[in-house]
């Protein structure tokens, strides 16, 4: 049985509008479930405590980023897989997992393909995979524009030359052990599955000969800069500097679409 923790307020109260179709789709895929409505996100741990039974296969966060964060926080003491059914357009983790809408979320649940994932946290938001921090101009020209299909078609997706790259005075604090400072052109953070330190940090600085890379490792990273810079995952800005980024020590089992199948529209 799947425990569906539904936030009815998420996505401009989308759940109320889709409720009948949602339950219909669950039944169509013969997904045994129990729906628990979250009135207040701070009560999520209590809801899990009252409703997790021996036959619970996974906890399913139905809602947006806030719902996902509350469910992951509450899952810390359980050995249950997490599934996400997005009812907002900005559900970041669902998008990273390749679940674009609630229909795809239900289908993913039906297939029950699990994968161990390392999660990271910026402030109160979770992320997985990779983060980029850079001055806005470098970010737009070098990271976002090359991915823009229209710009690529017209051939205007040229990245900035290293000598034209902006740099911002930046200070990093790694695990309260190391302080690193330099003129930052770009910072990439990768969560790694194995190893003592969970985050691989690539710190690019502008030098006369081009960009210079530094490679560092940490479990917790504090970033401060002279100018606020966006922290981007995929194409979405999750936060701005100054920020504290940390890798969660425990990996979490996540139900995600199987790599071979692409979600199709109902």
């Amino acid at each position: 049985m799947y425990l569906l923790l539904v936030n009815p307020k998420a996505g401009n109260k989308l759940y109320r509008r889709i409720e009948r179709r949602f339950i219909g789709l669950l039944n169509r895929y013969k997904i045994k479930h129990k729906i628990v409505v979250i009135g207040d996100l701070s009560n999520t741990p209590d809801l899990l405590k009252d409703n997790v039974k021996d036959n619970t296969r996974a906890a399913v966060a139905v809602g947006g980023n806030g719902t996902v964060t509350a469910v992951i926080d509450a899952l810390a003491n359980y050995n249950l897989p997490l599934a996400i059914i997005p009812t907002t357009k900005t559900n970041h983790l669902a998008r990273l997992l390749g679940i674009p809408n609630w229909q795809a979320g239900v289908r993913t649940l039906a297939r029950h393909h699990t994968h161990e994932k390392r999660l990271g946290k910026i402030g109160q938001r979770y992320f997985m995979g990779e983060l980029t921090i850079a001055p806005k101009r470098n970010l737009i020209k070098n990271i976002l524009i090359p991915n823009n299909r229209l710009k690529r078609f017209f051939g205007t997706n040229r990245p900035l030359l290293p000598k034209n790259q902006h740099s911002v005075a930046c200070q990093l604090k790694l695990d309260n052990e190391l302080e690193v400072s330099g003129q930052l052109a770009r910072l990439d953070i990768h969560l790694v599955e194995e190893g003592k330190k969970k985050m691989l940090i690539r710190f690019y600085t502008v030098a006369e000969t081009g960009t210079e890379m530094s490679v560092l490792w940490a479990n917790k990273l504090e970033v401060e800069s002279s100018l606020n810079m966006p922290i981007v995952s995929g194409n979405e800005t999750l936060a701005n500097t100054p920020a504290t980024i940390q890798a969660i020590t425990k990996t979490i089992e996540v139900i995600q679409p199987s790599p071979k199948t692409k979600p199709k529209r109902d």
């Binding site: 052990e177 190391l178 330099g182 210079e212 560092l216 490792w217």
Partner: protein, 135 residues
């Protein structure tokens, strides 16, 4: 693993790398290799190798299996295997190692202590005969 001079120019996958324009303070420890090309103050510890690049300025005590110095180091160095000071390298501190080499032009200001290599125990067992007691 011992490194050649070419490793200083093309050190593709170090576990930790501090670039030329970067200033670092604190204690750095790694289970892999460390290369420092920028400025570092504090202490450095690595299970395998540490490379101090040509433009590096390091004020730290260093401990690793192999240490290669092509830049400036102010502090003590303890290399459990090998210490190499290259022609552009300058060390201002006491060094301890099993093996050491200083290229012409390399400078060491401080004392040097050579550690003895651990003697290997003989692998062959001694053979001897026990005479049976005659009744």
């Amino acid at each position: 693993m011992a490194k050649d001079r070419k490793d200083f120019a093309d050190f593709n996958q170090p576990d930790t790398l501090i670039g030329k324009e970067v200033v670092v303070e604190g204690s750095l420890s790694s289970e892999g290799d460390i290369q420092i090309n920028g400025r570092f103050t504090g202490s450095i510890e690595a299970v395998s190798d540490i490379i101090i690049g040509e433009h590096a300025e390091v004020k730290a005590n260093i401990s690793a299996a192999n240490v290669y110095v092509a830049g400036e180091v102010e502090g003590d160095i303890q290399a459990t295997k090998r210490l190499e000071i290259l022609e552009t390298g300058r060390v201002n501190g006491n060094v301890t190692s099993q093996a050491m080499s200083i290229e012409p032009g390399g400078i060491l200001k401080g004392s040097s202590t050579m550690q003895e290599t651990a003697e290997q125990a003989p692998t062959a067992q001694p053979t001897y005969e026990v005479e049976e007691e005659k009744e």
